[in-house]
C-alpha cells in the first residue's frame, strides 16, 4: 500500500493524449476517468483513425479472447495495433489487453496478436476461479511504472487466465508475479509495451499512482523526442 492520495491533475498544454480502444464490451468509464484524473487527455476509439493523434494506446478489456479478436478484426484494428507496437510506440494493456499480446489463448483456442512470444493459459491450482479480488503484485525487477508503489502492494484482479512469456527473452519480459494457487505473471514490460493482468483503474490509490507514472513517462517521452519520433516510454 502507499500512503496518501493521488491528487487530481488537470490536463494542461502538452498533456499526453491517450487513446483507449473500445471493442465492444464492458466498462470504459473507469479507465477513462482514471487516466483523466492523472493528467491525460483521453479519447475513446472504435476505429484506427483516432490513433493518428495519440501519444499512447490503451487496451482495456475483460472476458474471452476469441470474441475480442473477432471484434478487433471487424473494426479493422488488428493490423493498426500491431503496427503501433512494432513502431515502438507506448502501449498499455490491461487484463485481456495484456493477454491479447501473446500468440494465443487456451481459453477458446483463439489466435491473438502475437506481439509477445507465449500463451495465455488457465491459472493452475487456484483455490477459487475466477481469481477475483485484491492480491499482491511482486515485482521481479524495478520499473518506472511502479515508482512510489511499495513492493508487494495489492491490486485488483478479475480473471481466470493469464499469459506466460516464452522463448529466450521470457525472463526479461516478466515484470511481476502474483500467487493464487500457483504463481502467474501479473505484469510484463518490453520496450514501450507495458501489460498488467490487474486493473489499475480499479485499484484505488496505488492503481492511480501507476497510471500517473505511465502518463508521466509518456509525457516526458513525448517532450524529449522529436515530434515524428516514437516517444520513449518504458524500459
Amino acid at each position: 500500500m502507499t500512503a496518501g492520495r493521488v491528487p487530481a491533475r488537470s490536463a494542461g498544454r502538452g498533456a499526453p493524449r491517450f487513446t483507449v480502444v473500445d471493442y465492444g464490451a464492458g466498462n470504459l468509464v473507469s479507465i477513462e476517468q482514471g487516466l483523466t484524473r492523472v493528467g491525460a487527455v483521453v479519447t475513446i476509439a472504435r476505429d484506427p483513425s483516432a490513433f493518428e493523434l495519440a501519444d499512447a494506446l490503451v487496451m482495456p478489456g475483460v472476458g474471452a479472447a476469441a470474441p475480442a479478436m473477432e471484434r478487433l478484426t471487424a473494426a479493422g484494428l488488428v493490423e493498426p495495433i500491431r503496427d503501433w507496437i512494432a513502431a515502438g510506440r507506448p502501449y498499455l494493456g490491461i487484463c485481456l489487453g495484456l493477454q491479447l499480446l501473446f500468440d494465443g489463448s487456451d481459453e477458446d483456442g483463439a489466435t491473438t496478436l502475437g506481439v509477445i512470444e507465449g500463451r495465455t493459459t488457465r491459472l493452475t491450482d487456484a483455490p477459487t476461479l475466477p481469481h477475483i479480488g485484491w492480491n499482491q503484485v511482486d515485482r521481479t525487477r524495478d520499473h518506472p511504472a511502479f515508482a512510489g508503489i511499495e513492493r508487494g502492494a495489492d491490486f485488483y484482479f478479475v480473471h481466470s487466465y493469464a499469459g506466460t512469456p516464452a522463448g529466450p527473452d521470457a525472463d526479461a519480459v516478466v515484470l511481476a508475479r502474483t500467487t493464487h494457487g500457483s504463481a502467474f505473471v501479473s505484469a510484463i514490460a518490453r520496450a514501450n509495451v507495458l501489460g498488467v493482468q490487474f486493473h489499475p483503474e480499479r485499484s484505488g490509490t496505488d492503481g492511480l499512482r501507476l497510471l500517473e507514472n505511465v502518463v508521466g513517462l509518456v509525457r516526458s517521452g513525448a517532450q524529449a523526442a522529436a515530434p515524428a519520433a516514437p516517444a520513449s516510454l518504458l524500459v
Partner: protein, 259 residues
C-alpha cells in the same frame, strides 16, 4: 495472497441511498457517489449497489449515479436489481459498473446467466441467491422478489447450477438472518462454498467483526457484505478489517482514513 474482501452494500432508490426495513419506511441516507467515495477511502474493497427503485424511471437515474460513482470511487462496483436482459446488463456496464448481479431474472430464465457470461465474460456475472432455511428438514430454499416468493429450488443445487451456467461469483444472502444482526448463516455458506469453485460473497445478518471472521473461517466465504452496520457507523470498515487481520485472515489494510 488473495485478500478476503469487505464490501459495503448500498440500497439505492430513485438515485438516493436509502435505508429501511424490507423496502418500506425508506429513509434518505445520501448521495450514492459521495458515500461510495467515503467507503473507498475507508478501505472498502468493492461496492455493491442494489437498485430498489419501485418505478421504471428510477432506471435512468441509476445509470447516471453508476457513472458518477465510477468517476469518483476507483474500486470495483457491482450493480444489482432489475437487470433482466443482456441489453440491460450492457447498459449498466457501459455506465461504469464492473459486474452485474442477477437474482429473480436468473431464476425465471437461467439461460440469461449463460447469455450474459458469453457476452461479457463470466467475471462480470454475479448471481445473487436469497435463501431461506427449510422449517422442517435440512437445507435451504431459494426465494425471490425480495424474499416474498418461494421457488421450490434447493439453494445449494441452484448455486451449483448457476456456477455451471456461467456465474463468476455468487452473492449468498440468508433471508432468515437479513436485518436481524444475528450473524451470517455459516452453515449455508459452507454448504455452497464446498460445492462451487467460484468465489462466494456472504450476506445477511452481520452484527460485528466476529461475524465477518466466522463467514470466512466457518463459511468458506471469499468476501463479506454488509449494509446497516456500516451506514449507521456501528463498525467502520477499517475496524472490521483489523479484526479479520487479527484473526489471521488476509485482508487489504489501507492507511488510516480521515473519518
Amino acid at each position: 495472497m488473495l485478500r478476503r474482501r469487505v464490501i459495503p452494500c448500498l440500497d439505492v432508490a430513485n438515485g438516493r441511498v436509502v435505508k429501511g426495513t424490507r423496502f418500506v419506511d425508506l429513509v434518505d441516507e445520501g448521495d450514492p457517489p459521495e458515500l461510495a467515495e467515503r467507503y473507498a477511502a475507508e478501505g472498502a474493497d468493492e461496492l455493491v449497489f442494489l437498485d430498489i427503485s419501485a418505478a421504471p424511471e428510477g432506471r435512468g437515474t441509476l445509470l447516471e449515479i453508476v457513472e458518477r460513482t465510477a468517476r469518483r470511487a476507483f474500486i470495483p462496483l457491482t450493480v444489482g436489481g432489475g437487470v433482466r436482459s443482456v441489453d440491460a446488463m450492457r447498459d449498466v456496464l457501459r455506465a461504469g459498473a464492473d459486474k452485474v448481479a442477477l437474482n429473480t431474472a436468473a431464476v425465471t430464465d437461467p439461460g440469461l446467466i449463460a447469455a450474459c457470461a458469453a457476452r461479457f465474460g463470466r467475471q462480470a456475472v454475479v448471481v445473487a441467491i436469497d435463501a431461506r432455511r427449510h422449517s422442517a428438514d435440512d437445507g435451504w430454499e431459494v426465494v425471490v422478489t425480495g424474499g416474498r416468493h418461494a421457488t421450490g429450488l434447493d439453494a445449494v443445487a441452484w448455486a451449483q447450477r448457476a456456477a455451471d451456467l456461467g456465474a463468476g461469483e455468487l452473492l449468498v444472502t440468508s433471508i432468515d438472518r437479513d436485518g436481524t444482526r444475528s450473524g451470517y448463516d455459516t452453515a449455508l455458506l459452507r454448504a455452497i462454498s464446498d460445492r462451487v469453485e467460484v468465489p462466494v460473497i456472504a450476506s445477511g445478518g452481520a452484527a460485528g467483526p466476529a461475524d465477518f471472521v466466522a463467514a470466512v473461517r466457518d463459511g468458506g466465504a471469499d468476501a463479506v457484505l454488509a449494509a446497516s452496520i456500516f451506514h449507521r457507523r456501528i463498525h467502520s470498515i477499517a475496524a472490521v478489517k483489523q479484526a479479520m487481520a487479527a484473526a489471521g485472515l488476509p485482508v487489504r489494510l489501507v492507511p488510516a482514513a480521515v473519518a
